[in-house]
Structures are given as structure tokens and as C-alpha cells.
């Protein structure tokens, strides 16, 4: 029997240890980095096993955080590091880990700074795992900020030629968010005279000025991670510059932290003071959705289309979370699970196509005809992404949207319109890639290996199963 006391710490520690092992792993004499890659993949798989074990240990539908671990970091000032999980955080963690494995597939042949890529990716994974299990305001803030460094390093080292400029933007927006969050944390800490668990936020009674400021700070800092106007700009510019699927994936996961922040911070019954914020946020959110969706439609860059898709969905989830409906939260968790895996797969294979296109020196129109295995996976993922009943995205989005439409029809309609536009953009791209008339058949095209194809089929199976029953892998759920 595993000791539940330390299991949450363990899932933070495993990627971190993996990072250390990767750091000291010897590269082969021929310059290949198979060792480094294997260590990294092993670390992520080990963590997936642990996460599945946690699912077994907890009561999945019990409300509130479970398996809570408390670690007294210091006594003066009194700061406890508290960890805890619920279905939402675990589903997100599982999806992120699977997405990482998919991302690793995309970079397995990378030879430039492979070690650095693995090291920083695992560090990021460790930090984001910590973030999702954080149950107190300090550990939340610590991981909220700590994950920026690995991402900064990854963006800087693997970005495009204009990376300096983009990385500056990334830094600017995120550090502004982190600094504001820090002030809010200190304010809360000061107000509470010490330690503050996230669950306690629901019961806190703040004076009106402080409440106003704290919520403003929390909203701004969390929004700085989410591609809502005007914060979308850094993500848009960074993502359009990234040509490495792993980094794209990681930068795509970052907004999730903002969304998750809302889940953890917003009280179950929203204070009256938040009414204005939420109204503004709803307006800004739907306008951004439509705006990004439209740009995604006109932009010829596949990367931007995926970004637009990701953005529209993130904002939809954010607006869903603002309803503070427990059921919606659960559906968002289930939906996120598929969403992250789908985005990861699409990005990895989109990158593969781009790489092959560069290698062969041909246009990418109809290129998928040469790669039947990729074609199958990419088509499946695109169709699942546009909302066909191939993953949990379908059913759970249905519930989220039915609530949102009932709450605010105008918002819901714009949201639906945005979904249609981004879905059309993705479909259009798929058709362009599969256009048999423009297909340049070549014998030099290297399709993915049988092993990877089987793995991706397994991922498709996982997605399909998530449609049938999101928690199918949990016995007795």
C-alpha cells in the first residue's frame, strides 16, 4: 500500500528528479541523445502511473480536495505548503502528462540542444504539477511564478529568429501578472495573519476596498496567462514564432494555469463586488474569441490556426468556470482532458508535416496523401477538435454550452459563432493538407514509424473512451 502522505509530493519530485537525471545523462558518442530522451520519457511515464494510482486512492466524485499533505515550510512567518487534489486537477495533470509524451514524440529526432529541451521541459512539468496540486496560496504562487523560467528558457532557445522580441513580450506580460499576484498574495497573507489555504478563500470576509483590490489583482494576474485581449498578444506572437512542437505545447499549456487559477480562487458564491469584473470579462472574452477566430480564419499559418482554436476554447472554459457551477467544473475537467491531448497531437503532427515539407522542398497542399498514417491521426484529431463525438470534448462541451447559453444567450451565440469559425479554419486546413489533386507523390516521404502510429492509435482509443466514459480508467468510478 502506498503511503498517501507523500504521493502528491512524489508526483512533483519525479519529473524534477527526471530533470536531474537528464541533466547528468551522458550523450552517446555519436552525438545522439537517445539516453536523454529515454530518461525524460521514463520520468513522464512513471508520473502517469503515479497519477493513475492517485485516481485509485481517491473518491473521484467527492467534493473538495483530497489526499491533502501539509508541510510546514517555516514558522515565522508561518507558511505551510499544502498539497491536495480533486478530479479536476488530476484530469488536467493526466492530460498534460499524456500531452508531454506526445510532445516528446514530436521532438525525438531533434538534435539541437536536445538535452536542454528535455531538462527545461521536465522542470516545467514538475512546476506545473506542483501548481495543480497546490492547495494553499503560497505554494500556488510559488509554482505560478516558478514555471515561467523553464518556459522562458525554452522559448528563448528554441524560438524563431525574432525570439528576443517575442520572449520580451512573454516576460513582460507574465511577470506583470506574477508581480501583481505576489502583491495580492501578500495582502491576503497580511490580512489573514499567516497561512491561507485556497479553500479558505471561499469563507474570507474582506473589507470592501481590499476585496476590490484583491479581486482586481487576482483577475489581472490570472488573465495575463489567458489569451484574452490584450493579453492574447504575447501568446499569439510567441506561438506563431515557435517551430518546435514541444515548446508550442508547453506555451499552450500555460494559459491553463490562468484558467485553473479561476477554478481555485473564485468562491462558490461570487461576491457582489465581482459582478462588474465578470461582466467585463464576459464581454472582453467573447469579443476576443470572435476576434481571434476571425484572424485564425484569415491567417495562412497553420500554427496560428491551432492557436486560434486553442484560444477560443480556453476562453470558453474560462467563461464556463465563471458560472461557478460544480457540474460545469467537472465537465470542464473532462473536456480539458481531450482538448489538451487533441491540441498536442495536432501540433506534433502539424510540425511533422512542416518538417517534411521543408525537407522535400514542396508545398504542403495535399502533402498528407503521401503520409497515410499521419493523415489518419491528423484527420481524427481535427474531427475530434471540431467537436464531433470522438472524444469527451463533445459531450462536455454540450453541457458547458447549454449552461452558458442559458445564462447569457448573446454571449453563447458569439461563442458558438467563434467555435464555428475556428472549426472551419481547422477543417479548411485539413482539406488543404489532404487535397489529392495537389498531391505531390514522392517516394522520399517518411511516414511515422509503426510504433508511433500504434501509440497514436492508442491515444485515439483513449479519446474515444473518454467520450464513452470520461473516468473509464478508474475502477468503480
Amino acid at each position: 500500500m502506498l503511503n498517501t502522505f507523500s504521493i502528491l509530493s512524489l508526483i512533483i519530485a519525479i519529473p524534477f528528479l527526471g530533470m536531474l537525471f537528464t541533466l547528468f545523462a551522458k550523450e552517446s558518442a555519436d552525438g545522439t541523445t537517445r539516453n536523454v530522451f529515454s530518461v525524460a520519457v521514463f520520468a513522464v511515464i512513471a508520473n502517469i502511473v503515479m497519477i493513475l494510482r492517485i485516481f485509485m486512492l481517491m473518491e473521484v466524485y467527492k467534493p473538495g480536495l483530497q489526499l491533502v499533505e501539509t508541510y510546514n515550510w517555516m514558522q515565522n512567518p508561518n507558511i505551510d505548503i499544502v498539497f491536495g487534489v480533486d478530479v479536476l486537477s488530476l484530469m488536467l495533470l493526466l492530460a498534460i502528462h499524456i500531452a508531454f509524451i506526445i510532445g516528446f514524440i514530436g521532438v525525438r529526432d531533434n538534435l539541437v540542444h536536445q538535452k536542454s529541451l528535455m531538462v527545461w521541459s521536465l522542470l516545467f512539468l514538475s512546476m506545473i504539477t506542483g501548481f495543480f496540486v497546490a492547495a494553499d496560496i503560497f505554494s500556488f504562487y510559488i509554482f505560478f511564478e516558478a514555471m515561467l523560467l523553464p518556459l522562458f528558457m525554452l522559448l528563448g532557445m528554441f524560438g524563431d529568429v525574432k525570439r528576443q522580441e517575442y520572449v520580451n513580450r512573454f516576460l513582460f506580460y507574465n511577470m506583470v501578472g506574477a508581480v501583481i499576484f505576489f502583491v495580492a498574495t501578500v495582502l491576503l497573507f497580511n490580512y489573514q495573519h499567516g497561512m491561507l489555504e485556497l479553500q479558505q478563500l471561499n469563507n474570507m470576509k474582506l473589507d470592501s476596498r481590499l476585496e476590490y483590490f484583491i479581486w482586481a489583482a487576482i483577475f489581472i494576474s490570472l488573465l495575463s496567462r489567458i489569451p484574452v485581449w490584450p493579453f492574447h498578444y504575447w501568446i499569439a506572437s510567441v506561438n506563431s514564432s515557435i517551430r518546435n512542437p514541444m515548446i508550442f505545447l508547453i506555451s499552450m499549456i500555460l494559459p491553463l494555469t490562468g484558467i485553473y487559477g479561476f477554478v481555485r480562487f473564485l468562491p462558490k458564491t461570487l461576491p457582489a463586488i465581482l459582478g462588474n469584473y465578470i461582466l467585463i470579462l464576459q464581454i472582453v472574452g467573447v469579443v476576443t474569441m470572435l476576434f481571434i477566430a476571425l484572424i485564425g480564419l484569415i491567417n495562412k499559418d497553420r500554427q496560428y490556426k491551432i492557436f486560434a482554436y486553442v484560444t477560443v476554447y480556453y476562453i470558453m472554459y474560462m467563461l464556463g468556470i465563471l458560472t461557478r457551477n460544480e457540474v460545469i467544473l467537472l465537465n470542464i475537467a473532462f473536456s480539458f482532458f481531450s482538448y489538451l491531448i487533441i491540441v498536442a497531437s495536432m501540433e506534433v503532427f502539424s510540425h511533422y508535416i512542416a518538417k517534411e515539407q521543408n525537407r522535400l522542398g514542396v508545398m504542403d497542399d495535399g502533402l498528407l496523401c503521401t503520409y497515410p498514417k499521419i493523415s489518419i491521426i491528423y484527420s481524427f484529431m481535427t474531427l475530434a477538435a471540431v467537436g464531433l463525438p470522438l472524444s469527451s470534448l463533445f459531450l462536455n462541451n454540450f453541457l458547458i454550452l447549454s449552461d452558458l447559453l442559458a445564462i447569457n444567450i448573446k454571449m453563447g451565440i458569439i461563442m458558438l459563432l467563434s467555435l464555428v469559425i475556428v472549426s472551419s479554419a481547422l477543417l479548411k486546413e485539413l482539406f488543404r493538407l489532404r487535397d489529392s489533386e495537389k498531391c505531390v507523390l514522392t517516394n522520399n516521404g517518411e511516414d511515422i514509424s509503426r510504433g508511433i502510429f500504434c501509440f497514436m492509435l492508442f491515444i485515439c482509443f483513449v479519446l474515444l473512451m473518454s467520450f464513452i466514459k470520461p473516468l473509464w480508467f478508474v475502477i468503480g468510478a
Partner: protein
């Protein structure tokens, strides 16, 4: 008498090392930097042990008094000096230069700084201050072969002399008023009789001299200027050790001696802390000389330390000390990395020199990044605690404007930090870097161990610091 002499052994060990080094220098044929380092090492070690053993014994209680407070700072200075000497030895060996003078002056400087910390007599303080400043000037002379330091040296000498003179005048005025040089008596006098403008000017003369030694804005000029024109061992020694001593003395004077002048020095410190934060942060962005850049970062950090300590609450004192210790640990790490960054035997100073260093020195680059992250006050590094306390203090005092300025400064300084990281990691390597000595990596490893312990169990340090800092707590 014997007991008093034995109690003075920390000072004696340091003093005895000086003639010994002179003799070695004069008569021993096979003398290298290692030889002098060994002598200094032994002297420092014994001095440190003796300091710990006689932590509450005072040989001349009217002049110097040892308490847990002074012992903490002195041991800290000794430890930093120990590391500096160790790394400097590598530098001198690499350059194949005589290090006798460096170690001798270094030991003397430690002696003076320790004296300043233990002093309870204004005259002793001013005297030790003057000698320490002068010794720093002499240390600068060692840079003659590598840098054109003359102008900077002259300016330093001028201002060092000016501040020493001002301190002397201030101390004499205080003595004239209180009819005593002793801290306690001065404190009692001012508590009883209050103060006038002349007293304020005397206080200003003393405190500004010490702030000059501390190197806080706007009195940071010489420290920054000299950072760019001094050799690495000197730079490290002069940028780490005096800060500890100056901080200890300022804290002691403000909490024990001039406590009745709080109404003046609290806003004053608040203003210069804010100025330091902004000045350090903005200047660091533009700077291309690495040592100066970290000098500005030091000013920024001192701003936070001062903000954290106000208004001298027990929590503030502890957390500021934690900040100071973490800052110095970080700077130790950063200077150690500087010792590792050399190309064709030359130690690199410019930011452009370390372009793409990551590709050849990955571990050193990663560690420098860790130190930079720590300096930025990012959690879970210990500096974060100091930053937290500083902001908490401001919030308690409803100084929200200051919070905004501090946060703005912390955003600005990040530009400088990330500039370094960008250069190291993202740019193309232009130089071939020499293989670094194993000792340097050992030193870095040691530093990281401290870091890790600090992160995982900060209470281990903090609780002990609290105990040792009790003499100045209320």
C-alpha cells in the same frame, strides 16, 4: 589580563598572520598564491573558531563588545572571506602573480570590519572605518596591471577620506554633547535630552559614512565605479565583506544609539531604499559590464533589505538578515561563476564576452541562472522571504505607493537578469572558454547545497538567526 588576551585571540590570529606572510614573502623561495592562501586560511579558521568560542566575552568592554549579534556577522564575514580567498588563490595561480599583499590586506580588512561590528565606542568605529576604507584603497592598487583605475582610485580616496572626516566630526560632536563615546551613554543622552539640528547633522555624518560603505544609492557611486576597474578577487572581497559590516553597524547604531531619531531616519531610509530600488533596477538594464551590473543589482537588493527592516520590527530584522545572507550567498555564487568564465586565461567582464557560454559551460551557466533567479526574489529562494517581508511591511504601513514602486522596480530588474540569461543561452558563442578549475565547481556545489537546504528547510537557518539577533531585538 591573560584572560583578556585570550579573548582577543580572534584578532590576534589575524594579526599574527600578517608578519608571518611578510616573513614567507621575504625568505621562502617557492612561494605561490597557495602558500599565502594556506596561511590566511589557517588564520581565518582559527580566528573564526575563537570568535565562536568567545562569542560573549569582551576583552575591552568600553571599546568592543562581543555579543551573539556581532559574532553572527563576524562569522559570516569570515566565511565569505574564506571562500573569497579560496577562489582568489585560483585567480592568482592562473595569473601567476604574487598574492602576499592581497591576503595581507584582506586579513587586515577583516580585522577592521570585525572591529567595527564589535565596537561600542564611536571613536573605535570611526578609526576602524577609516582604516578599512584605506585598506580597500590599497587593495585597489593591485588592479594596476589589469585596469586603468587611477581616476576611480582617486575619487574613491577623496570620498573615503571625506566620509571618514565627516564621521570623525560627527562622532566628536556627539561626544561633545553626550560627553561619552560609548553607545549606551549616547543613547541615554539623546533619549533624555532630545536632539537639535546640529545633532541631526552629526548623525547624518556618521550614518552617511556607513551608508557609503554599504553602497546604497545615492552613495553607491564609488562601489559601482570600482567594480569595473578592480581585479576579480578584489572586486569580490570589496563587494561582499564591507556590506555585512556596514549593515551590522548601521542596524546596531539605529536600534541602540540613535533610536530616538527614528522620526528622521525612518523616512530617510524609506526614501533611499526606494531610490536604490529604482536606481539599481534601471541602471542594471543598461549596463554591459557584468560586475557593475551585479553591483547595481546589489543596490536594488539593498533597497529591499532596507525596506524590509523598516520599522525595525523583530520580524523585519530577521527577514532582512535572511535577505542579506541569501543575497551574499547568491553573490558568492555569482562571483564563483565569474571565476569559471575565462577565455585564453583572461577573466571575462563584459556581457558580450559570455555570449553562448551555455554551449560550452552548461553547468556553470545553469547555476548562474539559479543565482539570478534567486537575486530576482523568485520563490522558493530565500530572498523571496525578504521580499515578502518588505512588501508586507509596506502594506502594514499602508505605503501602497511604495509597493507599486517596489514592484515596478522588481519588474525592471528582471530585464537586466533576463538580458544575462539571453546572452548566455540564446546567443551564438563567440569565444572559446577555458576549462574551469575543479575547486570552482566544488565551491559552486557547496553554494547550491546551502541553497537547497535554505529552500527545503528555511526554518533551520531562520530560527537560529532569530536567536542570534536577539541583542538588537526589542
Amino acid at each position: 589580563m591573560l584572560a583578556k588576551i585570550i579573548t582577543l585571540s580572534p584578532e590576534f590570529f589575524l594579526v599574527f598572520a600578517l608578519p608571518l606572510m611578510g616573513i614567507i614573502s621575504r625568505y621562502r623561495s617557492s612561494k605561490t598564491a597557495k602558500t599565502f592562501y594556506s596561511v590566511s586560511k589557517v588564520a581565518l579558521l582559527f580566528s573564526m573558531l575563537a570568535t565562536i568560542v568567545f562569542y560573549n566575552r569582551s576583552p575591552m568592554p568600553d571599546f568592543i563588545q562581543n555579543t551573539t549579534y556581532s559574532t553572527l556577522y563576524k562569522v559570516f564575514i569570515d566565511l565569505l572571506a574564506f571562500v573569497t580567498f579560496f577562489l582568489s588563490c585560483k585567480w592568482f595561480l592562473n595569473k601567476n602573480r604574487s598574492s602576499a599583499l592581497y591576503y595581507a590586506i584582506g586579513l587586515s580588512l577583516i580585522l577592521c570590519l570585525n572591529t567595527m561590528i564589535s565596537a561600542v565606542h564611536l571613536g573605535v568605529l570611526v578609526g576602524a572605518y577609516f582604516v578599512a576604507s584605506l585598506l580597500q584603497y590599497f587593495l585597489l592598487q593591485l588592479s594596476a596591471e589589469d585596469y586603468e583605475y587611477e581616476d576611480a582610485g582617486k575619487r574613491y580616496f577623496l570620498f573615503m577620506f571625506l566620509f571618514s572626516a565627516l564621521m570623525l566630526i560627527g562622532a566628536m560632536w556627539v561626544h561633545a554633547q553626550a560627553e561619552s563615546w560609548n553607545y549606551n551613554k549616547i543613547a541615554i543622552y539623546y533619549a533624555k535630552h532630545g536632539w537639535n539640528m546640529k545633532d541631526i547633522m552629526a548623525f547624518a555624518s556618521i550614518i552617511l559614512g556607513l551608508l557609503f560603505l554599504l553602497g546604497i544609492a545615492p552613495l553607491h557611486f564609488c562601489r559601482i565605479e570600482l567594480s569595473g576597474v578592480s581585479i576579480l578577487p578584489v572586486c569580490m572581497l570589496c563587494n561582499l565583506l564591507p556590506i555585512v559590516a556596514a549593515y551590522a553597524v548601521i542596524l546596531k547604531l539605529l536600534t541602540d544609539v540613535f533610536v530616538s531619531m527614528q522620526v528622521i531616519y525612518l523616512p530617510f531610509l524609506q526614501i533611499i531604499a526606494i531610490v536604490s530600488l529604482l536606481w539599481g533596477a534601471i541602471s542594471a538594464i543598461k549596463e554591459d559590464n557584468l560586475r557593475r551590473m551585479f553591483g547595481y543589482c546589489g543596490i536594488y537588493s539593498l533597497g529591499f533589505i532596507i525596506l524590509g527592516i523598516l520599522p525595525f520590527s523583530n520580524n523585519g530584522i530577521t527577514s532582512s538578515f535572511v535577505y542579506l545572507v541569501s543575497y551574499l550567498l547568491t553573490m558568492w555564487g555569482i562571483y564563483t561563476v565569474f571565476f569559471a568564465f575565462k577565455s585564453n586565461g583572461e577573466y571575462l567582464t563584459s556581457l558580450s564576452d559570455i555570449s553562448g557560454v551555455f554551449s560550452q559551460k552548461p553547468y556553470a551557466s545553469v547555476l548562474l541562472t539559479v543565482f539570478i533567479v534567486s537575486l530576482a526574489g523568485s520563490p522558493p529562494m530565500l530572498i523571496f522571504l525578504g521580499k515578502l517581508q518588505a512588501v508586507d511591511n509596506m502594506i502594514i504601513n499602508h505605503a501602497y505607493a511604495e509597493v507599486i514602486v517596489a514592484m515596478f522596480a522588481s519588474l525592471l530588474i528582471l530585464n537586466a537578469f533576463f538580458k544575462i540569461i539571453r546572452t548566455m543561452f540564446f546567443e551564438i558563442r563567440t569565444k572559446n572558454f577555458d576549462r574551469a578549475d575543479r575547486g570552482i565547481y566544488f565551491c559552486l556545489f557547496l553554494n547550491i547545497i546551502f541553497f537547497l537546504v535554505g529552500i527545503l528547510n528555511p526554518a533551520l537557518f531562520i530560527e537560529r538567526f532569530e536567536l542570534l539577533l536577539k541583542p538588537i531585538m526589542r
